[in-house]
C-alpha cells in the first residue's frame, strides 16, 4: 500500500507519520511506500518501507499532478493555511485552502484507468458558526464565520461531490480542538486551552485569558491520529452521501480542565495558572462551538477520550515520557 500525506510537516502530520512508521501497516495492509509532502521539507523517518519527502506549493498549477503520479492508495490531505492567517491574508487562504484542495481533487480525477484512492480530508469545527444549539448535531447547517471555515466547508462540498461522481472515496473529518498540543505556546486564540495544562506540567506559568466557565470540545493528538487512520481504513459503504463527520470529543469547561489537572498533577501545578482576562480572546471564544453530538461518527467506529483526565494522561505519556514533573 502506497500512502501520500500532504501537510506532513505539521504537528498532526508528524504524529501520523510516526504512527505509520511504527505500525508498518494501515488497517490490514502493509505499507510499501510513504510520500511526505509539505511546503517546508518534512523530516524523513527511519522506516521499514520506502519514504520519499517532497517540497512544493501544491496550489501552483501542475504540482498536485506530480504528487499523485505514483497513484497512492491513500491520500491524507492535511495541508492548510490556518484560521488566523486565512483571515489576515484573504488571497493566500483561498489559494491554498480552496484552489489547492481543488487542484488535488482534480489531479486525482484525471489520473484515470480506474484509479480511485481513499482520500481523507481534515475539515474543522470552524465550519460551524454561532448561534448554536446546545449540542451541535451532524445535521446542523454550515455557516462559517471565518474565511478558513468557509474554505473548509467548500472542501467538504467538493469532497462529497467528487466522491459521489466516483473520482475517489472521500472521508472528511471535522477535528475538534487538539489538546494538549506539544511544543511552545503559540499565538492562536485557542492556544490557552493547551497552555493551561502544558505549561504547569512543565513547571512554567500559564496565562488563562477567559473565565473558568467557558466550555469547549477537545481531543488528544493521539485521537487525531486514530481518527485519520480509521477514516483511511474503515468500510465507507456505511457513510452514505454525507461524507464529512464531526469527530467525537470531550466537552469540558475550563474549570473542569483545571480540576482534571489538579487530580493528575496536584495543587502545585494548578497554582501556576494565572487568570488575566483578555477581552479580545473572550470575544473570539464566545463565537466558538462548545459541544457536539458526534453519534454518527461514533456509530461508524470513531473514538476519542472519555474524560479530560485521560487527555492529560496521554500528554504525559506521549510527550513527557510518562513522567509527571513536580
Amino acid at each position: 500500500m502506497r500512502i501520500l500525506i500532504l501537510g506532513a510537516a505539521g504537528m498532526v502530520g508528524r504524529k501520523l507519520t510516526e504512527r505509520l512508521v511504527k505500525d508498518g501497516r494501515l488497517g490490514r495492509e502493509a505499507i510499501t511506500r510513504l510520500d511526505l509532502h509539505d511546503v517546508v521539507e518534512p523530516e524523513r523517518p527511519d522506516a521499514p518501507f520506502a519514504v520519499e519527502t517532497m517540497t512544493s506549493d501544491f496550489s501552483m498549477p501542475g504540482e498536485a499532478e506530480k504528487l499523485v503520479a505514483g497513484r497512492p492508495d491513500v491520500i491524507f490531505h492535511l495541508a492548510a493555511i490556518v484560521s488566523g492567517e486565512a483571515e489576515a491574508d484573504f488571497d493566500k487562504g483561498y489559494r491554498i485552502n480552496l484552489d489547492g484542495t481543488r487542484y488535488l481533487f482534480d489531479a486525482v480525477r484525471v489520473v484515470g484507468g480506474g484509479y480511485k484512492p481513499r482520500l481523507v480530508f481534515t475539515s474543522s469545527i470552524a465550519v460551524f458558526g454561532a448561534p448554536f444549539p446546545d449540542a451541535i448535531g451532524d445535521e446542523f447547517f454550515l455557516t462559517p464565520l471565518t474565511s478558513y471555515g468557509a474554505q473548509k466547508a467548500i472542501g467538504e462540498l467538493l469532497l462529497a461531490d467528487y466522491t459521489r461522481r466516483g473520482f475517489f472515496d472521500g472521508v472528511g473529518i471535522r477535528l475538534p480542538t487538539i489538546c494538549v498540543r506539544p511544543g511552545k505556546p503559540n499565538k492562536a486564540a485557542s492556544g490557552f486551552f493547551s497552555g493551561i495544562i502544558r505549561e504547569p506540567l512543565n513547571g512554567q506559568e500559564a496565562i488563562l485569558p477567559v473565565s473558568t466557565d467557558v466550555r469547549h470540545a477537545h481531543a488528544s493528538p493521539r485521537s487525531a491520529v486514530n481518527f485519520l487512520i480509521h477514516a483511511a481504513s474503515m468500510d465507507t459503504s456505511k457513510i452514505g452521501p454525507r461524507r464529512s463527520l464531526t469527530m467525537p470529543s470531550v466537552s469540558v469547561t475550563v474549570g473542569e480542565q483545571i480540576d482534571a489537572l489538579r487530580r493528575v498533577a496536584g495543587d502545585e501545578a494548578v497554582a501556576r495558572i494565572r487568570h488575566d482576562p483578555d477581552p479580545a480572546i473572550i470575544r473570539i471564544v464566545e463565537g466558538w462551538p462548545r459541544h457536539f453530538d458526534a453519534r454518527r461518527a461514533e456509530s461508524l467506529g470513531f473514538r476519542a477520550e472519555s474524560s479530560f483526565d485521560e487527555i492529560i494522561s496521554i500528554y504525559i505519556e506521549d510527550e513527557l515520557g510518562g513522567v509527571k514533573p513536580r
Copy 2:
C-alpha cells in the same frame, strides 16, 4: 442607479428586465443604466434609461472585470449551467457555476475605492439533498446530491464570506421550482409540473409521468422577479451573517395542481392530461425536497403566491393576455 444582470437572456433574466424597464426604478431609486449580459446576445428592450447588452463567457479570466468596470450599484447574478448539463459536463458546470461566480465576486472585490454593490445571487433548492424532514427549515444543512447543487452551495458560502469581509452586500435567494414556465415543453425532469398546466391551457395534451400524490414547492415567474427586486432593495442589516434565504413557495401535490386547474379552466382542460408513468422521472423526483419552512424569508418581506389557483391565474394574466382558452 446602475444595474447589471448576468444571465439576462434566460427566462427569469428576461422577465426581470421587462419589469425594470416597466418600473423605471428599483426600490426608491430611478434606474439610469442597465447592462444586460449573457453568453448569447440578450434582447435589447426599449427603455427610458440607457441599456447596454454584452456577450461573453464570464468564466474566462478578465471578463468579469469588464462587466463591473462601470461600477454597477446592483448586480443580479443569474448566470448558471443548469442541473442536467452540470451533471453531464462536470468541467463546464464547475467552470461556469463555481469559477465564473468566483471571478465575478473577485472582480467586485478588487474594484476598490469604497465600491460595495448589492449583489443578488440566485441559488436553488438543489442545495438540499434527501433524506429531508417534513418541512425543510432555514437551519437544515446543505447536502446537495448533484454537482449543480454543490456548486450553488459553494456559491452561498462564498457570498456569505465575501459579504462578511465587506467586499459587497450579498443576498442569496434559493428559488423553488418556477411554475408555470412559459414556452415549449423542455426535457428537464421537473418540466411536467409546468407542462400539466400550460399545455391544457393551450389546448394541447400533457404527459404526467408521476403519481398524483407527488408533492412539490412552486412559485410563479412573477414571484421570482419579486424575490429578486426585493433582495436588491431590502434593508440587509436584518439578515445577519446567514445571507442565503429559502424563498416562500406553494407546496402542493400534483393532484392539488390538477384540482386547481379544474377550478380555473374546467374539466375539459383536465381531460388533456394523460397519465403515463416514467420510472426514471419517478426516481429522480423522489429525491427532491417537497416542502419548505420559509419563515425567515417571510419575516424579511419576501412573498409568494398563497395558492396554486393564484399561480395558474398569473400564468393566464402574464402569458395568455388574461384570456382563458377553452
